[in-house]
Symmetry: C2
Subunit: 424 residues, 2 copies
C-alpha cells in the first residue's frame, strides 16, 4: 500500500533553476594561482565539498563579511586577517557552516587554516577560510584536513574553476562563475569569480560566498576601495528571502603576477583603473544576479527600480521593502499584476513618499500615477507580460532625486517545500 | 478530459483556520450603542459587507491608525477627526479599501461619512469610516449609501455583534469578538470588541481593523492613554507576513452611559481604572491573537519571547526578526526544531546580542546556551513538541534586561496558494 512520504524522507535532488544561465563560462588561468576541489565525504556523497586555492607570494586580498551578530568561526577568523591584506591560500568547505559552535568551532576553524598552511608551506594567518552549510554542528576536521592535504599534494591546477564552483555549493542548483579580461593601463589582466548561494541565506543549506581572483598588480588598499565601491550595487542589492547569513563572505584576491608599467596605482580614482573597476562591477553584479536566479524555488527574476526618493539610501530601503514583501513576491509567482501590493510595500517602508505623486510601472507599462490607477488602464497586456521570466517593477515616489535598484526572485510553493517539507 | 485548474479560476472558500476559537463569545449590549450589518452586493454575494454603528450624544473616541505613507482615504479622514475625540457613528465596508484612489477616493469617503451622518441625523465630522479590501479601485458609493440608509432605518439593534464581526471580514475564516465586564470604582461597565485581519495585511484581501466599545464614562484624553498603553503588547506585537496595511485602524469608543460616581477620571494612573485597563489589555491581546490565529494558511500559533536584550525596544526588534523570518516560519510549518534558524534571525536583526551567552529554548526544552547546542541534546522530544498547535520560542541574548513578546503564525503552502495561485 502506498504511504504518505514521511517528513524525514531524504530530500530530493532539486531541479536546475529555470532561471539558470545556459552554461558555465570558460575561465582562463590566473597567473600565480592554483586551485582544486576534493570530496571529504563529511556531508555529501559523490560530489566535491572542499575547495583549496593557493596563490603566490605577495598576493593581496580585500573583502566584506556578514554584519550578523552571530558570525561563523570562519567569518571571525577572516575579520582578524583582512586588515593585513596578505594571503597565500583559501580553504572552503560546504555542508557545515561551523557557526554557533562556540570555542570548539574557533579551534576547528584554526585547524583548517593551519592544516592548509602546513600543506601549502605558508603561515596559518595567510589562509582564509569559509564554511557553509548546517549551523550548530561541530566540523569533522580530520576528514577535511585529509582532503586538504591530498589537494595540496598534486590536486591543484590553474583551471579547476567549474569543479571549485561546484565544491562550494549547498542547495544551489547550478555552479556560478564569471570571467572578464580587461586592461590596466596597457597591461592585459584577467578577473575570475565564483560564488554560491540560493537562499539569501538558509543557515542549514545556503549562504552567500563569492570569491574573485585577478592577476592584476594592485595593493590591498585599492582592492578594498574596489570592493566597497561595487558592493552596494551588487551583493548588497540582492535579496531572496530577507534572511541574512551567519557566513556571508566576499573576497577579492590579486596575485600581482601581471606587473603594471608606470607608477603604482594608489587610488580607485586612477584613470588606468576605470576599465578594471567596470569589469569588477559587472562581474560582481553578474554573480549576485546568478545567486538570485538560483533563489530557492525561484521562477521569476525580478528587478525593482526606485526613483524620486529623498536620497539613494531611502530609495534602497523602499526597493528592499518591495523586494522583500511576501505579498509582492507571491503575486509575481502567481503572474498577477497586483500593483496595489507594490503601493502597500512603498507605504510600509517608512520612507518619505508622496502618495499623490506616486508612479508605478510594470515592465514598460504605466500603471499608476498621481496617486491612482491611470485612466483607461488595460490589465490584459500587463498580465501577459507577467508570464515572462524577467519582471521589472519601477516606482517613482515623487519626493526627490534618490534612486536604487534591487534584484529578487518570486516566492513559490517550491520555496516552502525546500524549507518546510523535509527535515534537514 | 480533466484539465489543470486555470489560474483565473474562482478562489475557493477557505476552510476555517485550525487555530480558531471554538465559538464566538456572547456579547452584552453596550448602553447607548446600536449596530447592524447589511449586504451591499458591491463585492461579495450572500454575506453582509457593511457595518453601521450609532452611538448616543457625548460619546467619545480614541484610536490608532496605520503608519503607512500610503494610507487609505478612510485612514486620512479618521486622522483628521481623532484629535476632536467626538463620535456619533462608525461605518465600515469590506471588499474595497478605497486606498490609492486619489481625490476620487477622498470624495467617495466623504460621501460615506455624509450619507451615514444624514441617516443618523448627526454631522459628517462625527462619523468614522474604515474600508478594507482591494486597493486601487473606486468605491461603489451608491450601493453602499443605500445599504447604510436601510440600516439606519430600523436595521440597528444593541446585539448584532456577531453579524457585524462577519460584515467586516475579507479573507478571514472566522468572525472575531471579545467581551469583558469589569468595574470602574463601584460602577459595572461592559467592553466589547470586534476585529478582522488574516494577513498582517494583503491589500486586496486583508488588513487589520479593530473596534472596541464601552459604556464607561471616560474622557477622550483617558481613552487615548488607554489605547497607547496597550497597543505595544497587543496589535503592535503581532505579525503574519511582515506586510503593513494601508488601512490598519484601531478605535475605542466610550458612550459614557454608565456614569461614574466621584470625581471624573483624568489619568490612566487613577487607581479606579486599574481593572478596566487590565480588561482592555486582555481584550486587545485576545483580538490580536485571534488575527494571528486566522493568519493566511496558519497551522501553528507561535509565541516568541526575547529576554536579556539591551532594552525592551531592542528585544522587540529581535523578536520581530525571528517572527518575520521566512526560514523560521517554514521550519515551524515543517515541524522541524531548526534552532539554527532562530540564531540566524537574532544575528540578522542588527541588535546587540552576545553570541557566546545566547540561550535558546523551544517550549520548555533548553536547546542552546553559551553559544552552542547543550551537551547531550536530544532532539526527539522537541520534534514531538513541534507537532503541536502552539509553539513557544524563547531566546535570551545575554546583554541586558530588555524583554519583549511577539505572536506570529507559520508560513505554509496554503499562504502561497491564497496569495499566488488565484487571481484576485
Amino acid at each position: 500500500m502506498p504511504k504518505q512520504t514521511p517528513k524525514t524522507s531524504k530530500k530530493p535532488m532539486p531541479k536546475k533553476s529555470p532561471l539558470a544561465p545556459k552554461s558555465f563560462p570558460k575561465m582562463p588561468p590566473i597567473d600565480g594561482l592554483w586551485l582544486g576541489a576534493g570530496e571529504s565525504g563529511t556531508k555529501y556523497k559523490d560530489r566535491p565539498d572542499v575547495m583549496l586555492v593557493a596563490v603566490e607570494k605577495k598576493s593581496v586580498i580585500a573583502g566584506a563579511l556578514t554584519k550578523s551578530s552571530m558570525p561563523s568561526a570562519a567569518v571571525e577568523w577572516c575579520r582578524t586577517l583582512l586588515p593585513k591584506g596578505v594571503v597565500r591560500g583559501v580553504v572552503v568547505n560546504a555542508g557545515n557552516a561551523n557557526a554557533f559552535t562556540g570555542k570548539t568551532g574557533d579551534k576547528a576553524n584554526y585547524q583548517l587554516a593551519a592544516g592548509a598552511a602546513k600543506a601549502l608551506n605558508v603561515l596559518p594567518e595567510e589562509v582564509f577560510v569559509a564554511s557553509t552549510g548546517v549551523i550548530g554542528e561541530d566540523l569533522k576536521t580530520p576528514a577535511l584536513l585529509k582532503t586538504i592535504a591530498n589537494l595540496a599534494d598534486g590536486g591543484l591546477s590553474p583551471t579547476a574553476w567549474q569543479n571549485c564552483a561546484r565544491a562550494i555549493m549547498t542547495t544551489d542548483t547550478f555552479p556560478k562563475g564569471v570571467t572578464r579580461t580587461t586592461k590596466i593601463g596597457s597591461v592585459e589582466v584577467n578577473l575570475n569569480g565564483i560564488a554560491k548561494g540560493s537562499g539569501m541565506i538558509a543557515p542549514d543549506m545556503a549562504t552567500m560566498l563569492a570569491f574573485f581572483f585577478t592577476d592584476a598588480d594592485l595593493p590591498p588598499s585599492v582592492l578594498r576601495q574596489l570592493v566597497n565601491d561595487n558592493l552596494p550595487s551588487s551583493f548588497n542589492a540582492i535579496t531572496v528571502d530577507s534572511d541574512t547569513s551567519t557566513s556571508d563572505t566576499v573576497l577579492l584576491i590579486a596575485t600581482g603576477a601581471r606587473k603594471l608599467s608606470g607608477k603604482p596605482i594608489r587610488s580607485i580614482k586612477d584613470p588606468r583603473l576605470k576599465g578594471f573597476n567596470q569589469s569588477l562591477k559587472e562581474a560582481m553584479q553578474e554573480l549576485a544576479q546568478q545567486i538570485v536566479r538560483d533563489g530557492e524555488g525561484a521562477t521569476k527574476f525580478i528587478t525593482v527600480n526606485v526613483s524620486g526618493a529623498a536620497d539613494d539610501a531611502s530609495a534602497r530601503l523602499i526597493a528592499l521593502a518591495i523586494a522583500n514583501s511576501p505579498l509582492v513576491k507571491t503575486a509575481i509567482a502567481g503572474e498577477d499584476p497586483n500593483w496595489g501590493r507594490v503601493v502597500m510595500a512603498v507605504g510600509k517602508s517608512g520612507e518619505p513618499a508622496n502618495r499623490d505623486r506616486l508612479k508605478v510601472k510594470i515592465g514598460d507599462f504605466n500603471i499608476a500615477k498621481n496617486g491612482r490607477v491611470i485612466a483607461n488602464y488595460d490589465e490584459r497586456p500587463v498580465a501577459k507580460y507577467m508570464k515572462g521570466r524577467e519582471i521589472v517593477i519601477s516606482v517613482d515616489v515623487g519626493i526627490g532625486k534618490g534612486s536604487s535598484r534591487v534584484w529578487t526572485s518570486d516566492l513559490t510553493h517550491e520555496y516552502i517545500s525546500i524549507n518546510a517539507d523535509y527535515r534537514s
